[in-house]
């Protein structure tokens, strides 16, 4: 009986991972493809490799949150726990399919959380759910797009104030660019070192890690300085050309952060089922499988989505794309480190609006905000209810 459950869980998890790769990659890579920073083929390669790396290297925190911190797993019987997480996974799967079919900005993350909460409620009542965690997660859904917006606003204002207001904008861009590179890589290295398996193996203190990250980031900054120096000339087009190179970097950053945060939606429930079935199992393998699933989704289906979305978006220049990507990736990565499952898509939308408010975009349609708020209000209760139904069904079956 257990083996059937395990097989269903793995397939459902793979379906989710495939979907995350296929659909969500468009939201994170379409700015780069739309602004012609990278080609479609490059986007697919970058996205699949870095999503995988992000999932394996940094994906554990969010996975832990979904597994252990939403319902009181210690009290629930193993068998019920397995069925409960199965129910959460299946209800999230239904939501992914539904949102893809109806083109709604429903988040996979929200559906999974809703599913886990739903099963917790029916299994042990109100007290079974750790409401403090759920509150924090729900708050992060509102905060993450706002944080993305604020950060993108600040980044773009910095670019406008230092580069565009300068008499020699391209010269200034060549000077400022390396600092953006250092900042980006500093955050990435820090995320890989702190509270991760890699960090545990190296056994340094936080400050030593910070220094190491800074030193490594500075090296990339110096490399970047020489790379940007090669692009000569002056004028706004040259500035955009310089940022096209920088945007290749932020696209990687987005893909990495996306993998780190979103892999949990697919693998956390699977991990629970597998661990209960086989007791001893290394989380890294499960993360790797999830990362692979995302990569396969990107390669088999993601290209179609990026092509469609990228084709519909052309009004974005590289300085704008850079600001959006940097802001969204930073917020998503920080949330991943805090173990907060947030929606990458909503954060990207927030960042787009932030650049719009900084007078960086010709026209931003704010009606998407309304849709996103509806999806916040609906997804959690709806997927909780669905999860309860599925859980009841599973109890009868198994």
């Amino acid at each position: 009986m257990i083996i059937i459950l395990v097989i269903i869980a793995i397939f459902a998890g793979l379906y989710m991972a495939w979907n995350i790769g296929a659909n969500d990659v468009a939201n994170s890579m379409s700015t780069a493809v739309g602004s012609k920073a990278i080609t479609l083929r490059q986007a697919l390669i970058i996205a699949s490799i870095l999503n995988f790396l992000g999932a394996v290297l940094v994906g554990k925190h969010v996975t832990d949150t979904i597994q252990n911190k939403i319902v009181d797993v210690a009290i629930i019987a193993d068998h019920d726990l397995m069925l409960g997480f199965m129910a959460a996974l299946l209800s999230a799967g239904v939501f992914v399919t539904l949102s893809t079919w109806k083109e709604l900005p429903v988040s996979t993350t929200h559906a999974v959380i809703g599913g886990v909460v739903g099963f917790g409620l029916i299994e042990g009542g109100i007290n079974m759910v750790k409401w403090r965690t759920v509150e924090n997660i729900a708050a992060s859904w509102v905060i993450s797009p706002i944080a993305g917006g604020v950060l993108a606003f600040i980044m773009f204002k910095i670019i406008a104030a230092t580069i565009f207001s300068n008499k020699k904008p391209a010269d200034m861009a060549r000077k400022i660019g390396p600092f953006f590179i250092i900042l980006t890589f500093f955050i990435i290295f820090l995320s890989i070192f702190l509270k991760t398996r890699v960090g545990a193996m190296l056994e340094y203190t936080t400050w030593e890690f910070a220094l190491m990250a800074l030193a490594m980031a500075s090296l990339t900054g110096i490399a970047g300085f020489f790379l940007l120096k090669k692009i000569t000339g002056e004028g706004y087009d040259i500035v955009e050309g310089l940022f096209r190179r920088l945007q290749v970097m932020t696209s990687c950053y987005v893909a990495f952060s996306h993998g780190a945060n979103d892999v949990a939606n697919a693998v956390a429930p699977v991990a629970v089922v597998l661990m209960l079935a086989w007791k001893e199992i290394d989380a890294i393998y499960i993360l790797a499988i999830g990362g692979m699933g995302i990569a396969v989704g990107i390669i088999t289906w993601g290209y179609k989505v990026i092509k469609t979305v990228g084709g519909k978006i052309t009004a974005l220049t590289n300085t704008r794309g850079f600001s959006i990507d940097f802001a969204a990736a930073t917020v998503v990565l920080v949330a991943s480190k805090l173990g907060l499952p947030i929606s990458t898509t909503h954060t990207v939308v927030g960042a787009v609006i932030g650049v719009g408010l900084a007078r960086g975009l010709d026209a931003v349609d704010l009606s998407v905000i309304k849709k996103i708020v509806y999806s916040w209000l609906l997804t959690l209760p709806a997927s909780a209810a669905l999860s309860i139904l599925i859980y009841r069904g599973l109890i009868i079956l198994f």
Partner: protein, 227 residues
């Protein structure tokens, strides 16, 4: 198969400013063609003017389509780097330039009025000043591209303001010319047929209207790019 990618709905493929630039391009082209026709008309060469009037109408219609398209794709919830009301007023005044150009062309085509020789140079100068006003206006609107690119940097704002200042200057010069011509017409009214006199006054007024609306457009542009 549909996809879920709300990002694509957030920012649009076609910028309303692209439409604005297309529109002012049509305005300039239209006034340029009309100017060529009027310079010949003033010399009494009426042949071929009908074709020019038709061409002007055609351009006016094309610009109307652009205007309609911009308005149709500007929903209430759209966030723009400038005040949307000022943007729409600017578009409206640009369109008014075309409306007056078309009216003028049609009027001139309906009655071929011979312009007295002693006024011909004044009429030509006036037309050239009015066309120059529109050309400066086009430069000002063209510079909006750089303004958007740099997110309204002080440098680009100053450049746009310089063009706007030029519009005012040319419009003022055109006004002076118009008063001079009007005065001349009144001086000669005893020697003239009443209908001719009426028509000459009409022509000079309507040519000048084009510059007036270019100036109005410049004012809205100034308001639009204000901090």
């Amino acid at each position: 198969m549909p996809f879920r990618a709300p990002v694509k709905d957030t920012y649009r493929k076609k910028s309303p400013f692209e439409g604005l630039l297309d529109h002012i391009g049509k305005v300039r082209e239209c006034v340029h063609i009309l100017r060529g026709g009027i310079l010949r008309y003033v010399d009494g060469e009426f042949e071929g003017f009908h074709e020019i009037a038709e061409k002007v109408s055609e351009l006016e219609h094309e610009a109307d389509l652009i205007k309609g398209n911009i308005r149709a794709h500007l929903p209430r919830s759209v966030l723009m780097p400038v005040d949307k009301r000022y943007f729409l007023w600017l578009l409206r005044e640009q369109d008014a330039i075309l409306d007056h150009a078309e009216n003028l062309a049609q009027l001139l085509d309906l009655r071929h009025t011979v312009i007295p020789e002693e006024m011909r140079d004044d009429f030509k100068e006036h037309m050239n000043l009015v066309a120059a006003t529109v050309e400066e206006m086009e430069k000002a609107v063209e510079n909006v591209k750089d303004l958007l690119m740099t997110s309204f940097s002080g440098r680009e704002r100053d450049e746009t303001k310089t063009y706007i200042h030029n519009v005012h200057k040319k419009e003022w010069e055109a006004d002076q010319k118009r008063y001079a011509i009007t005065a001349k017409i009144y001086e000669m009214e005893d020697e003239m047929d009443a209908m001719d006199e009426y028509h000459l006054l009409k022509i000079v007024d309507w040519i000048d209207d084009i510059a007036d609306h270019a100036e109005n457009a410049a004012d809205w542009l100034r308001a639009m790019i204000a901090k």
